[in-house]
């Protein structure tokens, strides 16, 4: 049973019951003015709901309505408590009146003008009504207070008084519903009190008897099934006995025998049924207990296991008897013993255990790592614990840590390497260019044409090597630097990249078309590097075209944004496409087109780090098209 849904229904019932009672009482009051016996007392037995009782019921119903939500606000609580205290006072004053033998207070003024009532109906608050009202008021006043037991008892007492009166009506014995010949309780009053008593209990499903009835535990499940019978069977018997005797269906001895038999059969059936319910629920739990691959255990506070599930034997090899007959400390690794006893002692104080790890010895003498969770029932002096064998997991974790450390080391070596590339390789290069320049400047005359040409080759080579070192460093930095992901306006990024690359055209006529591009999620600086490279390539490979044309488009395709960069340059043979994105891979000689084969490798590295893809289509002499699949910006919806 879903406890929350039940709780909601119960609170709903409390509200409805409160409203119904208020309506009932107001109708009864109206009956006094309209002379309607039906409204006043439902026309039964000549007993009407007394106006003071009506007033008290209206107050009690209103109080309950005020605090029907849980938790009730402080103002609602204040109002409800005031109303409830008034109800108690109304009841107490009437009780006082009876004990002093005088009419005081409410009865005297509430309907003084019509004290006799119409149709000879008796008009006085019955003593049992007064007592029930006092109890009901107490119960409402204490609804969210600390005196939970008193509150529950008062509500139950109210219901008991009401049920007694109702039973009286049912069995037509006035003595039952009127106390010692006093005025009896009106039928509508009894119904109203019963409803309110039940409503008070229902309004707080988490408390006392109500919780016992609605909780999902086995006991509650049984109580829910048995309780109606426990009430219904005796009531039926009580109804049947006098009726049967009067009608001559059976005499007293046969009647007694019949009724005893009937009661025995009914009670035995109910008990048998309840036992089945409990059995079913406990076998359900037992199945899970036996089936679990985690190690389940109930441990006492004496350092021993009370019960273990079969997973223990499968994991450690010890039988259930071995594990429950010896203190569990005998199975714990000596090094973990101190920590284990500390954790165990803390748990015995009521602290739950989470993720505590220790080692248990197997029958074979090995140790397994167990990770524990336990909840403690101090009152039952028991710990309910689940252990999971995490030996393999720990092994994997350890390996992972080792690998991470190795990786870290490798990364640092790489860092040192790129540092030395940046510093140590540049220095000799600078010397070569520097002294070659000085040589040309100072001694150029003496060198002759051929000498100067050779020097020019040296100068050019060093310049290219410098560029290569820079590109390599950039390439390695792109692989290592952290991504700062944000929403990127690609249209801006591409047009900035174009402004940056455009001067390389050297005045050549190039048509550049840029469509508005969808926003993507990425690192703006790195995406800029991507488009710098792609547009640089497009410009380079359209070098020989009289009407060069470069076009950038983008669209949503399923979960990706696909950006396309097209040019009408020299293209390439698709047979070599697999080499396109490798480091130092070139599909054109550097005599034809300058370059060092790092640009597209950088593009692929950036796109890969964004979780995207890059691919190309081309035909020799008919242009090339590069596609990038990137992740759309987080806010963008699928088209």
């Amino acid at each position: 049973m879903d406890e929350d849904r039940t709780a909601v229904r119960l609170r709903g019932f409390a509200g409805v019951a409160g409203a119904v009672v208020v309506a009932l009482a107001v109708l009864a009051l109206a009956g006094w003015w309209l002379h309607s016996a039906v409204l006043m007392g439902w026309g039964r037995s000549g007993v009407a709901m007394n106006p003071a009782t009506s007033l008290a019921l209206v107050l009690a119903g209103a109080a309950l309505l005020a605090v029907r939500r849980e938790p009730a606000g402080p103002r609602a609580r204040g109002a409800a408590e005031t109303l409830a205290v008034l109800v108690v006072l109304l009841g107490l004053i009437r009780i006082l009146g009876y004990s002093l033998g005088v009419d005081v207070g409410p009865d005297a003024w509430a309907a003084g003008a019509r004290a006799a009532g119409p149709g000879g109906m008796v008009n006085r608050m019955a003593p049992n009504t007064a007592i029930a009202l006092a109890a009901l008021g107490t119960s409402v006043a204490l609804l969210d207070g600390r005196w939970a037991r008193t509150q529950q008892a008062a509500a139950l007492f109210t219901m008991l008084v009401a049920i007694t009166a109702l039973a009286g009506y049912a069995y037509r014995g006035n003595a039952l519903y009127g106390v010692r010949g006093f005025i009896p309780m009106a039928l509508n009053t009894a119904v109203a009190l019963l409803l309110l008593g039940a409503a008070v209990l229902a309004a707080r499903p988490g408390r006392g008897v109500t919780r016992l009835l609605v909780s999902p535990e086995a006991g509650s499940a049984v109580a829910r099934r048995v309780l109606p019978w426990a009430i219904a069977v005796p009531m039926f018997v009580g109804w049947l006995m006098p009726r049967g005797l009067r009608s001559g269906w059976f005499d007293i001895s046969l009647g007694t025998a019949l009724i005893v038999t009937l009661t025995v059969v009914a009670l035995v059936s109910v008990i048998w049924w309840a036992a089945r319910v409990v059995d079913q629920m406990s076998s359900e739990r037992r199945r899970f207990f036996d089936l679990s691959r985690d190690l389940l255990v109930v441990a006492g506070f004496d350092g021993k296991f009370l019960d273990v599930n079969p997973a223990w034997e499968r994991a450690l090899g010890w039988t259930r008897e071995e594990l429950t007959s010896r203190p569990f400390s005998e199975f714990v690794h000596p090094d973990d013993l101190t920590a284990t006893s500390q954790e165990y002692a803390a748990a015995n104080q009521g602290r739950d255990v989470t993720r505590f790890v220790n080692r248990y010895r197997t029958r074979a003498g090995e140790y397994r790592w167990l990770e524990w969770s336990a909840s403690v029932a101090v009152a039952d002096r028991a710990q309910y614990a689940v252990a999971r064998d995490v030996t393999e997991l720990r092994e994997i974790e350890r390996e992972l840590h080792e690998r991470v450390a190795q990786l870290h080391e490798t990364n640092q070596e790489l860092e040192a390497f790129s540092y030395s590339v940046s510093h140590d390789l540049r220095a000799p290069l600078r010397h070569m260019t520097g002294f070659a320049d000085l040589l040309v400047a100072r001694c150029g005359e003496q060198l002759g044409d051929e000498g100067r040409r050779w020097l020019a080759i040296i100068q050019d080579a060093t310049r290219r090597m410098g560029a290569l070192i820079d590109d390599l460093l950039n390439f390695s930095r792109i692989g290592r630097s952290a991504l700062t992901m944000k929403e990127v306006d690609l249209t801006t990024v591409v047009s900035e990249a174009w402004s940056n690359v455009r001067p390389e055209a050297n005045g050549r006529e190039v048509r550049f078309d840029l469509e508005p591009l969808p926003a993507v999620s990425g690192d703006p600086a790195l995406l800029r590097v991507v488009f710098d490279n792609l547009l640089h390539n497009a410009l380079k490979y359209t070098g020989g075209r009289s009407a060069a044309h470069i076009e950038v488009r983008g669209c949503r395709q399923n979960d990706d944004v696909v950006i396309t960069v097209t040019d009408n340059g020299v293209g390439f043979d698709m047979r070599h496409a697999h080499k396109l994105f490798g480091v130092f891979q070139r599909l054109h000689g550097s005599d034809q087109f300058e370059g060092n084969g790092i640009g597209l490798a950088t593009v692929r590295r950036v796109v890969a780090r964004h979780g995207g893809r890059v691919w190309a289509e081309a035909e020799p002499d008919r242009g090339a098209t590069f596609h990038l699949a990137l992740k759309p910006a987080a806010g963008a919806t699928s088209a």
Partner: protein, 146 residues
């Protein structure tokens, strides 16, 4: 007329040193140039002790400091200079091959006055050193001598 203040170059690599001096020469600066070959010597020079005990008094107009030097590297020199009450006002410029971010960050944290990466191409190197020299020797107003 007051004597022109000197420029101090700290550089362990002879070829680099020669190129730097050549660049300064081409920039037509007339300030005298002193050279030291490692970090320990830089501090000796500035404090006028050891081999530099007899140098003419006065702080250099600028110290051009290489990062990688034997005994005491550029960063250590920078820390020593900027941490010394007597020396911390002397302008120090890193003149280095390293564009490494960690070097940049550490230099600025220690209070370097400028950080210049030596260009590989000689004409760019020339213009870099020329501008450096002109700025510190002519344009910049040096701190008063303590």
């Amino acid at each position: 007329m007051k004597a022109l203040r000197r420029i101090l170059i700290a550089e362990d690599n002879a070829a680099d040193l020669e190129l730097t001096i050549e660049a300064l020469r081409q920039s037509r600066l007339v300030n005298p140039v002193d050279t030291v070959r490692d970090g320990v010597e830089v501090v000796d020079y500035l404090l006028r002790r050891g081999p530099w005990a007899d140098r003419p008094p006065g702080d250099p107009v600028v110290v051009l400091l290489d990062l990688k030097m034997p005994r005491m590297d550029g960063i250590e020199v920078l820390r020593a200079v900027k941490g010394d009450e007597r020396l911390r006002r002397i302008p120090v410029v890193m003149l280095t091959s390293s564009r490494q971010e960690t070097d940049l960050v550490r230099s600025y944290e220690l209070g370097v006055n400028a950080y210049v990466v030596k260009p590989v191409a000689f004409d760019e190197f020339l213009s870099a050193v020329r501008e450096l020299g002109t700025f510190w020797a002519l344009l910049n107003e040096s701190p008063p001598e303590s």
